[in-house]
């Protein structure tokens, strides 16, 4: 199924079709991604939301070709970045895409910065490596980027070592670094999970600002629907290596169709309760059970063993990701047998 079909070709930055990735391990073959399809357009913020083991990070690794080469059992489908198929590209060509067209903001800012060099030097290094700017031009650019990240005294930060900065400042430096070569797309892998709630909010708003001012598209990976609601336009919900629901954020939050999405949304405490009485200390909504083992996936729907609506056929029939028909002009798709049935009627 082609999501990009209805879109203008030139607006598509990243188009993933039927992506499937399998990894060899000592215990057997892990199906980490299966039948992944989505599109990121210019200037849009898309979120992938899911729990650990759902395949969010593997999706990124597949896009940037950062998979452990000797362990790949299967890596097929198509990943188009500005019209080029990434899967067919060699390492040299890939280096032109990484950093320049697509840059990555990792979860832990400390690991993406070298502790033994001043952060300024590290930003300059990237600019010099990836563009044909001189060192002094690069420094100018680095300082202005740091300023744009809401850092008050860029000069001092430029001269600091990573360990001298707080978690929030470090993440800002890494985001500045990711913008160093004016990429079309920033992939942010749980960029705020390690931060305090107050700092998380600032960093999320910084992403929104970058998106508005530079028009940079952002693909944000998160486990928190609160983050999705805050900044994203579009969202893909992943479960056990598959996208189970995909569409506009507003549609998905207001009309979630997949039982997993519905449950995940219910797990987020509804803060309106504060203003009601008698909700306090009531049990929270919980999804029973745990993610299926990726070594031996169930035959039918992967969520069926935890689903409160599961019927017999859910355990045997593999559901497809299908577009919802009823809603006007929406691009809302769901992978659920029960949804397929409502189509046929």
């Amino acid at each position: 199924m082609k999501f990009a079909a209805s879109l203008k070709e030139e607006n598509v930055l990243l188009n993933i079709e039927n992506l499937s990735t399998k990894i060899k391990t000592a215990d057997g073959t892990l199906t980490v991604l299966e039948d992944v399809n989505f599109t990121v357009e210019k200037g849009e913020i898309m979120a992938i939301v899911g729990e650990s083991g759902s395949g969010k990070s593997m999706t990124i690794n597949s896009i940037l070709k950062l998979l452990p080469k000797n362990l790949i059992e299967e890596y097929k489908g198509s990943i188009e970045v500005a019209g080029k198929d990434v899967i067919a590209l060699n390492e040299n060509k890939m280096r032109e895409i990484r950093g320049r067209r697509i840059s990555l903001v990792a979860q832990n800012a400390m690991t993406s910065l070298d502790p033994s060099y001043r952060v300024g030097k590290q930003i300059v290094e990237i600019i010099v490596e990836k563009t044909n700017k001189t060192k002094s031009q690069a420094k100018e650019k680095a300082l202005s980027l740091l300023g744009q990240m809401g850092i008050d005294d860029p000069e001092r930060i430029f001269q600091s070592y990573p360990h001298q900065l707080s978690g929030g400042l470090r993440q800002r430096v890494v985001i500045a670094m990711s913008l160093a070569c004016d990429p079309d797309l920033i992939i942010a892998d749980e960029p705020t999970s390690a931060l305090d709630p107050t700092v998380q909010l600032q960093v999320l708003d910084l992403f929104t600002k970058i998106n508005r001012e530079f028009g940079t598209a952002i693909l944000i990976i998160t486990h928190d629907f609160g983050v999705v609601a805050r900044i994203a336009h579009k969202v893909a919900v992943m479960y056990a290596g598959q996208i189970v629901e995909y569409g506009e954020v507003g549609d998905i939050i207001d009309y979630p169709e997949h039982p997993y999405t519905q449950s995940l949304l219910k797990c987020i405490p509804d803060m309106d309760w504060i203003f009601k009485e008698g909700v306090h200390k009531k049990p929270l909504f919980q999804i029973k059970g745990e993610l299926p083992n990726l070594l031996e996936l169930p035959q039918g729907c992967r969520f069926s063993s935890r689903c409160h609506l599961a019927k017999e056929e859910c355990h045997v029939t593999k559901p497809l990701l299908l577009k919802k028909q009823h809603r006007y002009k929406s691009n809302h798709s769901v992978r659920c047998v029960l949804n397929e049935r409502s189509h046929e009627r």
């Binding site: 729990e51 650990s52 107050t198 609601a229 306090h280 929270l284 919980q286 999804i287």
Partner: protein, 277 residues
């Protein structure tokens, strides 16, 4: 002191450094400046604050895993500061802790069961190994794990299962008071709710008193009876959860509450729409 106070903390302070190093005195860092609160029997008391506010240090000082620089901790009318190491060890039966990172809280080279049973072996009254095994397996079942988890190693468990095992280890000696140091921060959304629900059930069943240390405030709202807000090593506000969320007084509390992300926007917006802030 009121009858139902279980733990009272007065003027707790922890200063690191300041001692003479090899060349120069090291820099003094005050992790906890002045913390006082009391926890009533059977309640869940929340301790919230940004990282670096001193919440974990306070939690550990209560168990005397870290010795306070000054201040007093009174448990059931008895000052913990006056206890000898031996006496404190005996008291540990009653006060236990569940750590944030269940991955590093267990020894990777020993089975889950043997680590839970270890406390029984050390502190329990009955050294009979069959009985200890039986009791450990019973505790595993209480926290929702199967008996065969006894012989598994920590890495074979998922994060949620490991945290259940951590709770089992804390409960095996039938404590009265548990320090929960960010027990769900590292867990997935759906598993978080499972663990919080489990803790609420266990509290009812065993009449436990909790000190819940957290930075995710949304769960505090559901879980805690009263909350103290820490900022830079000081308690800036203590009140009932309902009161704190409905009527936050201190600026820092408002800032912390506003940063909760909900589906309707951040809580700050929810507040502003309702003219709370």
């Amino acid at each position: 002191m009121k009858d139902n106070t279980l733990i009272e903390v007065k003027g707790l302070q922890k200063v690191y450094g300041g001692k003479k190093g090899i060349f120069l005195p090291t820099k003094k860092v005050t992790a906890v400046k002045d913390v006082s609160f009391s926890i009533r029997e059977g309640e869940t008391f929340g301790l919230i604050g940004e990282s670096g506010s001193g919440k974990t240090t306070v939690g550990r000082m209560i168990l005397r895993l870290i010795d306070p620089t000054s201040g007093s901790i009174i448990y059931k009318g008895q000052s913990l500061m006056d206890l000898s190491k031996k006496e404190m060890a005996a008291l540990r039966k009653e006060v236990q802790i569940v750590f944030q990172d269940s991955g590093s809280a267990f020894n990777p080279r020993k089975t889950i069961g043997s680590q839970i049973a270890h406390s029984l072996l050390k502190f329990g009254d009955n050294p009979d190994s069959q009985l200890i095994r039986k009791e450990t397996i019973h505790m595993l079942e209480v926290v929702g794990l199967r008996a065969d988890f006894y012989d598994r190693y920590p890495h074979e468990l998922s994060g949620g299962q490991r945290q259940r095992a951590g709770i089992a280890r804390a409960l095996i000696l039938k404590p009265k008071f548990l320090v929960l140091d960010e027990p769900v921060s590292a867990l997935d959304v759906s598993v978080k709710a499972q663990i919080i629900n489990l803790l609420m059930e266990l509290q009812k069943e065993f009449n436990l008193t909790y000190l819940f240390i957290a930075h995710n405030l949304d769960l505090v709202a559901y879980f805690c009876d009263r909350v103290a807000v820490l900022s830079k090593g000081e308690v800036i506000e203590t009140s009932s959860t309902m009161e704190l969320f409905k009527n936050p007084k201190h600026e820092m509390t408002k800032k912390l509450l506003s940063s909760i992300l909900t589906l309707q926007g951040d809580l700050g917006e929810v507040y502003r729409n309702r003219n709370v802030i």
